[in-house]
Each structure stands twice: as C-alpha cells, then as structure tokens.
C-alpha cells in the first residue's frame, strides 16, 4: 500500500496498519536546498526542487505543496512584506477603512498573483510524486482571509455589524471554493482550509459566524468535487474542536496547544480524523533528534488506535528546523516499533561501555563510519549510506566502510561513546564529516582524498 493510499484510508476513516505522516514543510522546504522563503514562494523551479527534497528525505505519505496564507490576500489587494525565513506578512488591509464586500469579479483566477507559479508547481509535483504521495492544496480559511482584508476591525464587527461579517465571510468562502477548484484542477488530493484565527474566538462566535461557511465549504469539497478536506487551526482551539467537527471536514489538524488525546476523543465521536501535534519550537526547532523521535513514539503509544490519526507538526514547520530533527520525526512515524525499541535502548545504553572504538590514529586505510537510524527504512539514511557505498565502489580496497544502525543497542552505545548527536552522519577516521545533509560524491571524495 502506498503512503497516499494509507492517508486516503485514514481520511475515509478506515482501519490502518500505521498512522500516516504528513510533514508540513512550507518554508522549511527551502532550507533543504539553501533557498530563502521569498525565493521558494515566488520561483516555481525552486519550489518544486525543494518539495522534491522534502519528499526524498522525509518520505511523507501526504505533503503540502505551498504553505502561504497570503496567496489570496495578495491577489485581493493586500500588500505583502517578505522575509527571508518565514512566509510573507500582510502589511495593509484594503477594507480597513470601509466595511465593504468585494464583488465576485475580484475572486482569484488562474493567471492572477502567484497562482500561475503555484498551479504549475502543483502539476509538476503531481507528475513527479503524485502516484505515491497525497498532495495537499492549502488555502486561506475564510475567517483569516476576512481579517487580512479588513484588519483587526473584523473582531469589532462581530459585535457592531454582524450582517457585514457574514457577507464578508460569504465572499471569503467563495474565494476558498475558487482556490479549491484551481488546486483540484492542478491535481491536489486534499484541500486544507487553514484558518489559524479560529483559535482567537469563542465557540459561540464560531457557531454564529463560521459554522455555516465551513459546513458549506466541506460539503462542497466532498459532494461536488469528490475531494478530501482538512481544517487546520493554530493556537489553543480546544474549546472549538467540537464545533469544528460539526462542520464535517474529513480531518482537522491542531498544534501543541491542544490536548490531542482529548481532542481525538471528540473527533472520534464525529468520525473526523485528527492530525498533529509535534511542537514546532520546543521540539522541532530547538529539540534534539532524540527529542523528536521520542515525542512521536510517545504520542503514537498514547493513542487508543491508529485509525483516524495523522502524525504531523503542529503547523507550518519553522524554516530552520534541523533536518535531522525532521528525519527523526519521520522515522518515528514510519518505523514506530523499531524507534520505540531504540528509545528504550537509548536509555538503557547509558551504562553500556563495553563497545570498543577503533584505534583511529593507526588505521591501515581511511575508515568511513556511517551512523544511521536504519538505512533499510529511513530515506535520508539510505541516501547517506548510498553515498558511502558509492565511495567504496570508487575507492575499492583503499578505504573501509561500515554502517552502524541505531536500531541495535550496541550501536547506540557506540554513538554515545563517540558523541554522535544526529543521524544520519558520516565519520571519517573518527571525525564527524557529514551530519544529516547527504554529501555529493565530489564532497565525499574530497574528504577521503584528504585522508589518504
């Protein structure tokens, strides 16, 4: 079964052998190829190259193509301010001074804004990985889009001019439908309605203003378009999980502010899948690879069943998430049992000092030691091991190559003794040469030549 089919089964609420893995690598995709956020989100070739690298390294079952909630706002007249390492921000709100509703002629069309680039990237991704990976088209949810257009006054309007808010939300819902049409036409499998501002209002306001638009949108996606849907929120949306479920998306996605087990109980009552919620900052950005593995392993162990669950970061991954952390999370999601055993062994390996390290100062020939989570299952590890095997093929008997898989207890002890922090990694004669990022053959050969 492909990862895509696994995710489809989850979105159809069927039993699955493991929970699907959907890394929300938005701007972080750029970091994998050295592109900044503006390059990534404005240049189609850069975007596709970065997304393919996400697909190669993190082996996602599902993958967003663009994570930029400002795409529609830009088309509708908001000015954007670009940053190097995060999506653009909205700097002006065209309806700030006038409570008006744009007319239907303002709705996005395929040639407007950055849509030509985005739709082309979607088609190229569909062609490249669409057979095996489910592709997510992310659109800006109606409430967040309304706030982009109107500014913070949208909150006051909820008290002062309810009819206006409903009219503006109706326009934003029409915009969401239009974006969904375009994304589905470009091959997207799942439409994610990303509405982070939902966490800033009460469930009463949600019901008063958002239940109807969301219900209409998810019905449209399911019945008229035959597409899967998801509702993404950020922040503490705990109180609104139930009202969100009642709008009947196929899945929802939450961040670390939500108790995901409690939320899953609610979602299960409505037969809605739930995704989340690896903490973005404390674990993914600032944690270690071990922290990421352990978080995902523990999260999955606490679930009553894998059905209706998707392993995912809490929201768009920060640009600078260390690649080894995402690799760790991926491996824990994809090879949960092996990683659970590894986490157990990691703790036990504290006292295991039996392992003997080579006498690096007196080696007969250069020694490449490849430390992996498991090159048979971890994509990044496979490529790292492949790089080392390529060198062995080129250098033959002039070098030695050995792999240490972290799934074996004695190898964990070896890693600890050598101070290996991140996997996969290549050490040459006992010295760290390549960590997480797979070297090109030229880079690796240059390192080996220096040791010959």
């Amino acid at each position: 079964m492909t990862g895509k089919e696994l995710l489809f089964r989850t979105l159809r609420h069927e039993a699955v052998p493991r929970a699907p893995w959907v890394p929300f690598a938005g701007v972080h995709a750029g970091a994998l190829i050295g592109a900044d956020a503006e390059q990534l989100l404005t240049d189609g070739d850069t975007l596709v190259r970065a997304l393919l690298e996400v697909n190669r390294l993190y082996k996602p079952d599902g993958q967003p193509v663009v994570f930029d909630l400002q795409l529609e706002a830009e088309i509708l007249g908001c000015e954007l301010v670009w940053a190097r390492d995060c999506p653009p921000s909205v700097a002006s709100h065209p309806l700030a001074d006038a409570p008006e509703v744009p007319d239907a002629g303002a709705l996005p069309t395929p040639e407007r804004g950055r849509l030509p680039m985005v739709l082309s990237a979607m088609r190229r991704m569909k062609e490249a990985v669409g057979e095996t990976t489910a592709l997510y088209g992310l659109l800006c949810g109606p409430f967040t889009l309304a706030s982009h257009l109107r500014g913070n006054d949208i909150f006051m309007d909820m008290f002062d001019d309810e009819d206006y808010v409903r009219e503006l939300l109706a326009f934003c819902t029409a915009c969401a439908k239009r974006m969904a049409d375009l994304f589905l036409g470009a091959g997207m499998d799942v439409i994610a309605v990303v509405d982070p501002l939902v966490s800033q209002i009460s469930e009463q306001h949600f019901e008063a203003f958002l239940s109807a638009p969301f219900t209409e949108l998810f019905r449209y996606l399911r019945e008229d378009k035959g597409a899967f849907s998801s509702l993404f929120v950020c922040g503490n949306a705990t109180r609104s999980i139930e009202v969100m479920c009642r709008t009947a998306p196929d899945s929802i996605s939450v961040d670390e502010n939500v108790d995901i087990l409690a939320a899953k109980e609610i979602c299960d009552r409505y037969n809605v899948a739930i995704g989340g919620n690896i903490p973005l900052t404390s674990i993914m950005l600032h944690g270690t690879q071990q922290d990421n593995i352990k978080y995902v392993v523990d999260l999955l162990a606490r679930l009553p069943e894998y059905r209706n669950f998707i392993v995912a970061p809490g929201c768009d991954m920060p640009y600078a998430v260390p690649v080894e952390n995402a690799i760790g999370a991926a491996q824990a999601a994809l090879e949960t049992e092996a990683m659970a055993e590894m986490v157990k062994n990691y703790v036990q390996a504290e006292d295991d000092t039996d392992v003997e390290l080579p006498d690096y100062a007196h080696l007969e020939r250069p020694l490449l030691e490849v430390f992996t989570l498991d090159s048979a299952t971890c994509a990044a590890c496979t490529y790292m091991m492949g790089a080392a095997n390529g060198a062995k093929a080129r250098y033959g008997g002039s070098i030695d190559v050995v792999e240490y898989k972290f799934t074996r207890k004695e190898n964990i002890a070896r890693c600890k003794k050598m101070g290996v922090q991140n996997l996969p990694a290549i050490y040459l004669n006992g010295e760290l040469k390549f960590s997480s990022i797979i070297p090109s053959s030229e880079e690796l050969d240059a390192a080996i030549d220096g040791a010959l």
Binding site: V81, A83, F159
Partner: protein, 215 residues
C-alpha cells in the same frame, strides 16, 4: 457604589455608549474621577483580564471591552489631570522588527491600560533601538516585546543587548511574550519576565512598576 458596579458590568460586555453615559452620570453625581476610574472602569477591565486568562472570553470580547473602557476614560481624563491622579507607571510596547503581528501586542496594551498603566505604543516592526529610545526619552519603566514568529523572537535578545549597551539595563525591565516564546527562552536571552498571556503580562507589569522584582 451601585453605579460603579454598573459601569464595571457594562464594560465587561462591551457596551461602550452605555459605559460613557454611566461615567457621565457618576461624574454628575459628584463621585471623584479617581474612584470612577479604579472602581468602575479598571475594576471591570480587571475582570475582563481574568476571564481572558481563564479562556472564558477571547479576542473580540476583550477588544469591545477595551473600547468601552477607553470611551469612559476619555471623559475622565481632564478630571483626573485636574485632580493630580497619575498612572501607576509608564511602559512602552511593540512587536519586534520583522514581525507585523499586532493582535497580541494590542491585547497586552489594553490589559495594561486596564490596570492603570500608561502605555507608549511603538507599533509593529520595531527595531531594538526604538525600544531603547522610548524607554530613555519617555521614562518607561518597562520595555514590552512581542513576537509571533520563531524567526523574529531572536530580536528580543538584541533588545536586551541594546539596553545593556545604552547603559539603561539596570533601570528598565524587559518583558517578553508571543506564541513561540517560553520561560527558557526568556532566561536564555537575559530578559526579566516572560508571560504566557496578556492579562498575566499586565499583572507582571504592575508588579514590576511597584518594584516587586522579576518574579
């Protein structure tokens, strides 16, 4: 006392016009402006802060309550000046450079004003030097920095360094907050206090202005 309670109650549900009328009635009835402020408006806003902190109310409710408070406070302002009533401290606040998010910053500002503090709003995309200039030139006891992005929270460390370089670090407290910010981050950059929500930020600011330390 009845009318002051009424002001507080109506403020909490955001009835701005009614609050303004009630404040005028209280003034006309001879109640001192300072008493109307503290026992009517600020008492109501304090309740709003508590309920926000407890996740009982959310951004829209806070915004309309703050609007009601401001309408009432505008009536009282000249009277308070005449009576020599002063704010309990002055602070400056802004969202750090590179970050345009202002909802959280505005909430903190409103909560602080609701606790009787005078707040200098520096807006969004504020470079470290502007915080320092505001603190030094306008006599702010506290610099409040907000950031919503993991990529901009690092600017808070620059604010701390700038305050040190300007020689004002000992006389100014630095309060930080925003979605990605944590206690550990606060300790790591040498700021004085992290608070997880707007109401707690206002509590902390009042304590710091009273000289009750960073705890």
């Amino acid at each position: 006392m009845g009318i002051l309670n009424e002001i507080s109650e109506q403020l909490q549900i955001g009835k701005a016009k009614l609050v303004k009328e009630l404040v005028q009635q209280a003034v006309d009835a001879g109640i001192p402006a300072g008493e109307i402020l503290t026992e009517g408006l600020l008492a109501g806003m304090s309740m709003v802060g508590e309920r926000f902190k407890n996740n009982e109310i959310f951004v829209p409710e806070v915004l309309v309550a703050a609007r009601a408070m401001n309408m009432g406070a505008a009536l009282l302002k000249p009277l308070l000046a005449d009576a020599g009533v002063k704010a309990s401290g002055r602070v400056c606040i802004g969202t750090v450079k590179g970050d345009l998010h202002d909802i959280g910053k505005n909430l903190v500002k409103m909560m602080m004003e609701g606790r009787g503090l005078e707040v200098v709003d520096l807006g969004t995309d504020v470079p470290p030097e502007r915080y320092i200039a505001a603190a030094r030139d306008q006599g702010c006891r506290i610099i409040c920095c907000s950031a919503l992005l993991t990529t901009t929270m690092g600017v808070m460390a620059d604010v701390v360094k700038c305050a040190e370089a300007a020689g004002i670090r000992d006389s100014v407290k630095i309060l930080i907050g925003g979605a990605p910010v944590t206690d550990a981050f606060c300790a790591a950059i040498g700021a004085d206090r992290y608070t997880p929500d707007a109401a707690t930020a206002a509590d902390a600011a009042v304590s710091l202005c009273r000289g009750e330390g960073a705890a």
